[in-house]
């Protein structure tokens, strides 16, 4: 269920790289944990991000979650649709629910991230802990 061409973080962000551009969002697991999303706080195009820096905030009715940047780079585009329709994050977190696009600074940082199968194993591990 998790796209093969994405990479994943422990904090449940996904990143899809295309040349020196990347798209970032949160995973299906994350949106399920959060519940109905009511508001998304987005950064501005031009913002420079370090790895693990908070790029935005997702609010559901009962929870708030920071979204961390999986790699460092500069924000080129933000998904304005999320302002009017935050539910997109719940309905389609891997495609229409993308959060930001950024210009990649250092591709080697991607190697730190998990593949789809590694992420799925990671999720299984979390479920056992519960």
């Amino acid at each position: 269920m998790y796209p093969e061409d994405f990479r994943y973080t422990k904090e449940h962000e996904w990143i899809k790289v295309d040349g020196d551009k990347a798209t970032v969002g949160i995973t299906d697991f994350a949106q399920n944990q959060l519940g109905d999303v009511v508001f998304v706080e987005l950064p501005e195009p031009g913002d420079k991000l370090e790895t693990h820096q908070t790029l935005g905030v997702v609010e559901s009715v009962k929870a708030v979650s920071d979204v961390y940047s999986p790699i460092s780079g500069e924000v080129t585009e933000v998904n304005g649709e999320l302002n009017d329709d935050p539910e997109i994050l719940n309905k389609d977190p891997h495609k229409k629910g993308w959060i930001i696009k950024l210009k990649v600074k250092d591709k080697s940082e991607l190697e730190e991230l998990m593949t789809a199968s590694e992420y799925e194993k990671y999720l299984e591990g979390l479920e056992e802990e519960e």
């Binding site: 519940g35 109905d36 009511v38 508001f39 609010e59 009715v61 009962k62 935050p86 539910e87 519960e130």
Partner: protein, 482 residues
């Protein structure tokens, strides 16, 4: 619930209806008085209704509320104990109601004596040295407590940067620390549910101003190593703040002042029986050891040569947090409560609070999962882990309890227990009411296995059924519009 939907007052408003009239003016009227002042044309869409309509409106509205006067209200962390009616009566004595805050002390000796006597009672009960009544609620008390710590450390040369807060703490703790200019470092709870001393040792250093500790903690478990924790903090020059929200477990049994606590806030609307009022007014008085006394907010009530006075002459004071002296009428009620109970009654209150909670715990521990097995005092935290197997969550359990005519426990907190059901009956519940709650919870457990749908669609019989909180947040409608 067999009741018509109550309209909004604006929906029955119409021109020409009045609920109150004033006597004719006894001074000569100057019709041109406001000619050169910007005045409003109208108060658009403001209600116009009769007294009858207002009285019926609020009477009916009140009947849609659950309340302590109706039945058990085991909302964990809130100490929903019975509100004695004599306390309400004394708070309505005309002299208190009509006391202007700027009264000359000569003319309000009674009020000042009440504040002074209350301070004496609370210092004895908590083992502290002095109290301020300015904080209007627990959260404001926390803020004051942190400001006192900061002022003290500033005087020593370095306010420091961090405050340590257990991961089980109430949200007001980190929020208050932040407003005080501190960054928060979370301390882990160990498997017993108490503060992990190793984690504390690791994080305690000369950059840490204080630890904010709740005792018993939000799981209802006594932090038995609080003295060791306090010593660890003190040895590095830090101070110990105690969130006194759970004081109902300790009165007459032990005192925060004897545990190394430097500053504490109390919730008069929890431990000391003053009414919660649907969300206030409460009061969050703050008690301190001598080390922090000179920083307390001003004015302070002092007694000298047989006379009570308000003294502002404390140059190191952190200043004011309230327009006047805090919630005087709430203090009156709390003092009436303390005097009613006396030393043995106060202790009995805590003993029975702990008895009632343990009775519920024992009665339900087969059906409901307890994440932490350590002994608990006045409250305990179940979780929905067992019921989750049937896809039933703590929210569903809470909503079904409404059908069974009891108020649900606290469900959104503490954060370290998923699907929490924080249950605090308090000492004023009868065995019959405790059994009612236990019976309801057992029924729900059975329904979770046999008929989960009835839980997921609860409540069924209430004035409104389950409300759409998502819609409320996504499409905010925060006022009536025509």
């Amino acid at each position: 619930m067999n009741m018509n939907q109550e309209h909004l007052i604006f929906e029955i408003s119409d021109k020409g209806k009045r609920g109150f009239t004033f006597p004719k003016m006894d001074v000569p009227e100057n019709k041109n008085l406001t000619d050169d002042i910007p005045i409003r044309e109208d108060i658009k869409d403001f209600p116009q209704v009769s007294e009858v309509e207002v009285v019926r409106h609020f009477t009916r509205l009140s009947q849609t509320n659950y309340c302590i006067d109706k039945g058990i209200y085991p909302l964990g962390s809130c100490t929903m104990k019975y509100n004695p009616k004599i306390n309400e009566k004394v708070a309505q004595i005309q002299s208190f109601l009509s006391s202007h805050p700027y009264l000359n002390p000569r003319t309000c000796q009674g009020n000042l004596e009440i504040l002074h006597a209350s301070e004496e009672m609370l210092t004895e009960i908590t083992g502290m040295n002095a109290f301020t009544f300015q904080p209007a609620a627990g959260a404001q008390g926390e803020l004051v407590g942190m400001m006192l710590i900061r002022a003290c450390l500033e005087e020593r040369g370095d306010p420091r940067k961090f405050v340590l807060i257990p991961d089980s703490a109430h949200g007001t703790n980190p929020s208050s620390a932040h407003i005080c200019g501190y960054k928060v470092k979370e301390i882990k709870s160990n498997e017993s549910g108490t503060v992990d001393l190793d984690d504390l040792r690791k994080n305690m250093n000369k950059d840490v101003a204080a630890i904010m500790i709740t005792n018993p903690n939000t799981l209802g478990i006594f932090e038995s190593q609080i003295r060791e924790a306090s010593e660890m903090v003190h040895s590095q020059g830090g101070l110990v703040y105690m969130d006194g929200a759970n004081m109902n477990a300790l009165m007459g049994v032990c005192r925060p002042g004897d545990m190394g606590v430097d500053v504490i806030h109390l919730n008069l609307h929890k431990t000391f029986s003053t009414p919660h009022g649907g969300g206030g007014p409460g009061a969050g008085p703050v008690g301190v050891q001598k080390v922090l006394e000179s920083f307390l907010p001003v004015p302070r009530v002092v007694y000298k040569d047989g006379y009570f006075d308000m003294d502002v002459n404390y140059p190191k004071s952190i200043g004011r947090v309230h327009g006047f002296y805090g919630h005087f009428l709430v203090v009156v009620k709390a003092l009436a409560y303390i005097l009613s109970l006396g030393p043995d009654g106060i202790k009995e209150a805590s003993e029975v609070a702990v008895l009632n909670s343990n009775y519920i715990r024992k009665s339900l521990e087969k059906e409901y999962h307890l994440q932490y097995k350590a002994p608990t005092l006045h409250e305990c935290v179940f979780s929905d882990k067992v019921q989750k197997k049937h896809n039933v969550s703590n929210i569903d359990i809470a909503k079904r309890l409404i059908d069974l005519h009891v108020h649900p426990p606290t469900i959104s907190f503490p954060l370290i227990v998923h699907g929490a059901l924080m249950t605090e009956p308090t000492e004023t519940e009868s065995k019959a009411d405790l059994d009612l709650f236990v019976k309801a919870m057992k029924q729900i457990d059975k329904e979770a296995r046999e008929n989960p749908e009835i839980l997921k669609s609860a409540p069924h019989d209430s004035y409104v059924r389950r409300l759409d909180e998502t819609k409320a947040a996504r499409e905010p409608r925060l006022r009536w519009k025509p």
